[in-house]
């Protein structure tokens, strides 16, 4: 056992940069890009149907822009805290990882609750997904994003329990890297939902 080998064994323990460049992360990246294509088809459907309100209220009458802006800022902040959590994970700091991912989880949960509140409010005021083509495509697009958020939150819980039991091992660091990519990706999709659905939706024609 030479000195070089023992040094190599130590550095092999946690090498965040090589994880980031691994085939696992690249494969996950390819998945994220195909998920973008899924969202693109839903965006295209929404863009085609957005004026087909079937005599119902248009987006400018049913969306509350300050409410959606709050949602957007909450999700953006959760993306940021997720990044800070990843910095702690790269150092192998278990306590900080637990803290920052707990913050991310709570912000994500707050976002999801706000979105579901908006959905129930719309459905109760007679603007459910069966009302018009516009609302069907709206609920499908925004609901698919909400479903992704739900999956992300569940995944976060699973990794959270793994990290609390075993600390930041190489395997957990890899999972955290994938999760953080997924979370940033959902934030990017939300930018476009915020712009195309809500901001464009409230511009009077």
């Amino acid at each position: 056992m030479s000195e070089a080998e023992s040094v190599a064994a130590q550095t092999k323990k946690l090498d965040p940069n090589s994880i980031e460049e691994s085939r696992t992360v690249f494969g996950f990246w390819v998945y994220l890009m195909t998920d973008c294509v899924l969202f693109a088809s839903l965006f295209a459907t929404f863009a085609v149907l957005r004026n087909n309100t079937n005599g119902g209220l248009p987006g400018s009458e049913i969306f509350s822009l300050p409410y959606v802006l709050t949602e957007t800022i909450i999700l953006l902040t959760s993306s940021f805290t997720c990044g800070i959590g990843m910095l702690a994970a790269r150092r192998g700091d278990r306590a900080k990882v637990m803290f920052w991912f707990a913050v991310t989880f709570l912000l994500g949960l707050a976002f999801l609750i706000m979105e579901l509140t908006e959905f129930t409010h719309l459905a109760h005021s007679g603007n459910s997904w069966t009302r018009s083509g516009f609302l069907s495509s709206y609920f499908t697009l925004v609901g698919t994003h909400g479903l992704h958020i739900t999956v992300g939150l569940t995944w976060m819980l699973v990794i959270f329990s793994k990290v609390s039991r075993k600390g930041v091992t190489e395997s957990n660091l890899r999972k955290l890297t994938l999760l953080s990519l997924f979370w940033h990706f959902l934030d990017i999709i939300w930018i476009f939902i915020f712009t195309v659905v809500y901001l464009l939706g409230v511009i009077p024609r």
């Binding site: 940069n17 980031e20 460049e21 690249f26 990246w29 390819v30 890009m33 195909t34 973008c36 294509v37 693109a40 088809s41 965006f43 295209a44 459907t45 863009a47 085609v48 822009l65 802006l69 957007t72 800022i73 953006l76 902040t77 993306s79 940021f80 990044g83 800070i84 910095l87 790269r90 150092r91 990519l181 940033h184 990706f185 934030d187 990017i188 930018i191 476009f192 915020f194 712009t195 195309v196 901001l199 464009l200 409230v202 511009i203 024609r205």
Partner: protein
Amino acid sequence: MSVEVAKVQKAPKNDKGRFTSYVIGYILSLYLTITAYLIVKNHLGSNFVIIALIAGLALVQFLVQLFYFMHLGLESKPRFKLLVLGFMMLVVGILVGGSLWIMYSLNYNSIPKTPQQINQYMNDQGGF
């Protein structure tokens, strides 16, 4: 040896640089989001100007988050992530642009005329 040197030279890969990149990304994203919100809220400009502005702001924020949050710029060569991203954007462009083009041109295909009249109509309208 040369590999080690190459790794050391990648300064932005260190954690301090990453922290700065998250902070910059967060501040820029907040700024872009709130700017787009205020433009729509206060009706700054005509509809066309507003739409162009907020679409531009969304695209800038897309790039900001790709580089400052997802660290696309830190990828070492060959840049396969960038390649896949580029192909995704091509597919998305064809899918969304093509759908809108077809669906908003449907009235051309639903005119109750003979084929000769349609050809005449299309010529008068300048093609597509």
